[in-house]
Point group: C2
Chain length 500, copies 2
């Protein structure tokens, strides 16, 4: 049986190497690709995706999975080998439903779509991106139709990023969350003059912002021996092994918060991948388990920690040293500024409170799009209408509206809900960590983030994809994902700031 | 038949996409890879190389090649389709002799070897690199033993970079070339005081050097829409399609000539790949034909053009503008400085005259190495001995000696002779271009390099791998590669400078 398992593992390692190579090609496309290289890159990514898929869905893999069932049953559920067989079976059953050709078509369309999106966003002109998006929606729906779904065709799209997640619970959670969130936003709006965030805007040297970002990343424990930061049109995290986890960022020369919190957010994603057990490297378990779990880590470091008083008690002098203008701004003013709640156009720069409305807007639009209740052509108008309804704002152009996010250009439909669900989970995980680490906030105040990071590594990161979100929540929290602690957290932090 | 050819071409396009993906992974390794990522990268490159090889040597390819013979025979020799079938057959027959496992082992060892070499070179300590090199020599010899060779095991190693080239003619050419070259070096040494190159040394701002290099690359016609330059430990050119051809460079803060001529050299390689017909893209014809042809282009732009009076009559003001200290150096002094003949340690920075001796040294050492007349452990001593014999110098450490070149660390044994043969060819091609373009030198003086580049594109670049060196020399020159025009060129240019 060890022989069969060895062959199985070696075979899958090659599939994995193809996928990791694809990831390198994607990273390069987003960071350093010469403009004219986009067409060949799309072709290359299409071929690699097809080949990886073909290899993986080979009958031989099915035969190994069947033969390895007794071996799996003989092992503890959480052993590396049993987990690899179990998760490989889940992936295999899904992958077998999709033709390799469609996988390649999606990869090619996503690669070209990404380039078109960059151009369209730069020109703030949705019509340039519309044909690409129509193709991508069609292909993603063709992909979703490969699966049996009970309720909505949005189900398999959600499942792609969060295994097991379906539309109904997302709708239930968001429906319960939205009214109190809207109330909170309204209550804060009446007291908006309690916070003055003007210190965050001005002219901020890009090199100094870069250095500050690196310092923040080192503080949270990002290991530059095993990763690096580059510039890209949209910040993202990507990994090619647990020893090569990279992030990207972008700069707003007029806002010091933009790149900084973006870097910390991506740094949170990176810590997850860096924390996956090396024993899982070169296997399909060697990634973060799901996007909700991933966003729980990024949003935790960005917000729960990164916008907290203890964090800034330690880090504010570093910021002041790089930007002496802050010598005239006291810590409390700065703390309140980075926690200002104010409806705004751009999701990734939104405060924690209004952030949820950005996500709910996208969730509703995506659902309408994939159920064909909304045409791609009508997306900008629908976007602007919802922005007005939820946030009281109408984007002045598509770059500040429907074109702001990279996701759809890469065929990623069904991802956005995970940001909000992940934010909810981040608060649950933080509470659990604080219970285990009574000294936690004092540690943060001393700039000691290692105990928190180690707690996340022990409880979340190291397992890679061994456990689903539900399995992990059960192990770590003993309770499922819930919006209530998150709502309580928002009410407490922002209630205190705004004197509610 | 068109159907079979279409299937054949589509199948090979995927092999090609795997190879291009490998190239992206290599580029990334040399430019941006985090230190800890090297092990996974070696594994990934091993897998990709193995898979590309396995796909290519599949019996199906052989069946297609047999079935396509009548189609090939029905077409002109120089048609794209006939050439693809012909060159694919040549590649296939070679590839079939090598086990895929060995291909993967070589790729892994080369990837790890490269990393070890960087470290060893930095520490100027050959012993750190020795075990890697021993492995690489063993693997390359195992690879060479897969082939029938008549004369020397060095033959298949030469053939890997220059199809058809064997040891005997290389030895014959070098044996004929060396005595007059040694005489020329000796004659120049007696008049060394005719040239003062002190203006080239000092402190040169790296950003200004970078900008000057880009300006030179634009001048020779490198298209930054289809390429880019990055920093790396050793300069190289690499391509992922004819629309994505990249170069790297490195800087010596104390010598202005080092990075500049290196960039122009790599730019010459890049022009070749950028000039390959787009119709050959994503086929195995879509590369430069051979390394002798490649070096003919790089050495032509670096030396024949890049160190010529006409070139500098145009470009010197640009250099003076970036480095005002040269306002006090007249053009003739500068021209003579960049053509100073002076034995030195580093091949890539050597003048044109002594350059040949650097190559002959490597050729002799490689031959001794692969015929087991020289042990890897004895390489540094043998290197230093030959440096003393040929150039009158003993390297003060291994970094300036045996560790200076990247090639062996990547398993590239049998490449070096192509630099000198390419230099010889560059002079033959330039003479032919000048015959066709009577205004050529006046054009260079006006900064118009497009006609020369277009001539090379028409006669050399566009054909990609359709023709071998001999076939191309026959078409373009009507005469084979010869050392005589090169020797005459060296005598004329350097005789004039040194008053011989």
């Amino acid at each position: 049986m060890q022989d069969t398992f060895g062959q199985f593992k070696a075979y899958l390692a090659r599939v994995r190497d193809l996928q990791m190579a694809s990831a390198v090609l994607v990273w390069d496309r987003e960071t350093y690709l010469p403009p004219a290289g986009a067409a060949a890159r799309a072709r290359q990514l299409g071929s690699l995706s097809e080949m990886a898929h073909e290899r993986f869905v080979d009958d031989q893999v099915g035969a190994w999975l069947a033969a390895l069932q007794p071996y799996e049953d003989s092992l503890p559920f959480d052993s590396d080998d049993a987990s690899l067989i179990r998760v490989a079976r889940r992936d295999y059953d899904k992958a077998r439903r999709v033709p390799s050709q469609l996988v390649g078509d999606l990869a090619r369309a996503a690669s070209l779509g990404q380039q078109t999106w960059v151009d369209a966003r730069q020109a703030a002109d949705f019509s340039r991106f519309q044909p690409s998006l129509e193709t991508l929606v069609d292909l993603r729906l063709a992909w979703a139709e490969c699966f049996d779904y009970e309720d909505s065709i949005y189900d398999p799209l959600l499942d792609a990023f969060e295994p097991g997640l379906t539309t109904a619970p997302v709708r239930r959670i968001f429906d319960a969350f939205r009214p109190p969130l809207v109330d909170l936003v309204a209550a804060i709006r009446e007291r908006h003059d309690r916070v003055d965030a003007s210190c965050l805007t001005g002219d901020f040297d890009e090199d100094a912002q870069w250095d500050l970002g690196l310092q923040a990343l080192k503080l949270i424990g990002y290991d530059f021996n095993r990763g690096r930061q580059d510039r890209a049109a949209h910040p993202f995290t990507i990994h090619f092994s647990s020893d090569d986890v990279r992030i990207t960022t972008r700069f707003d020369p007029h806002n010091i918060a933009s790149a900084l919190f973006s870097s910390i957010h991506e740094g949170g994603h990176a810590l997850y991948e860096l924390g996956v057990s090396p024993a899982l490297d070169d296997t399909l378990l060697g990634d973060g388990a799901s996007m909700v779990l991933h966003e729980s880590q990024s949003r935790l470091f960005e917000n729960v920690v990164g916008r907290s008083r203890p964090f800034w008690r330690h880090f504010y002098p570093a910021l002041q040293a790089r930007f002496p203008r802050f010598n005239g701004v006291d810590l409390e003013t700065f703390y309140r500024a980075v926690n200002q709640v104010k409806p705004s156009f751009i999701r990734v720069e939104a405060d924690e409170v209004t952030y949820g409305l950005h996500i709910i807007l996208r969730f509703e639009l995506e659902e309408a799009l994939v159920t064909r209740q909304l045409a791609v052509a009508d997306l900008p108008a629908a976007w602007n209408e919802k922005m007005q309804a939820y946030l009281g704002l109408t984007p002045p152009d598509d770059a500040l509206g429907v074109l702001q996010d990279i996701h759809w250009s890469g065929g990623m439909i069904g991802y956005f809900p995970d940001y909000l669900l992940g934010s909810m989970l981040s608060v649950q995980l933080y509470a659990r960590a604080r219970a285990d680490l009574p000294d936690l906030e004092a540690q943060l105040e001393r700039g000691q983030l290692a105990p928190l990071r180690q707690w996340m590594a022990d409880h979340v990161h190291q397992h890679g994809r061994k456990f689903t979100l539900d399995e992990l929540a059960d192990r770590v929290l003993g309770t499922p994902l819930s919006p209530d602690p998150y709502l309580a957290y928002l009410r407490e932090r922002y209630g205190e700031i705004y004197g509610l």
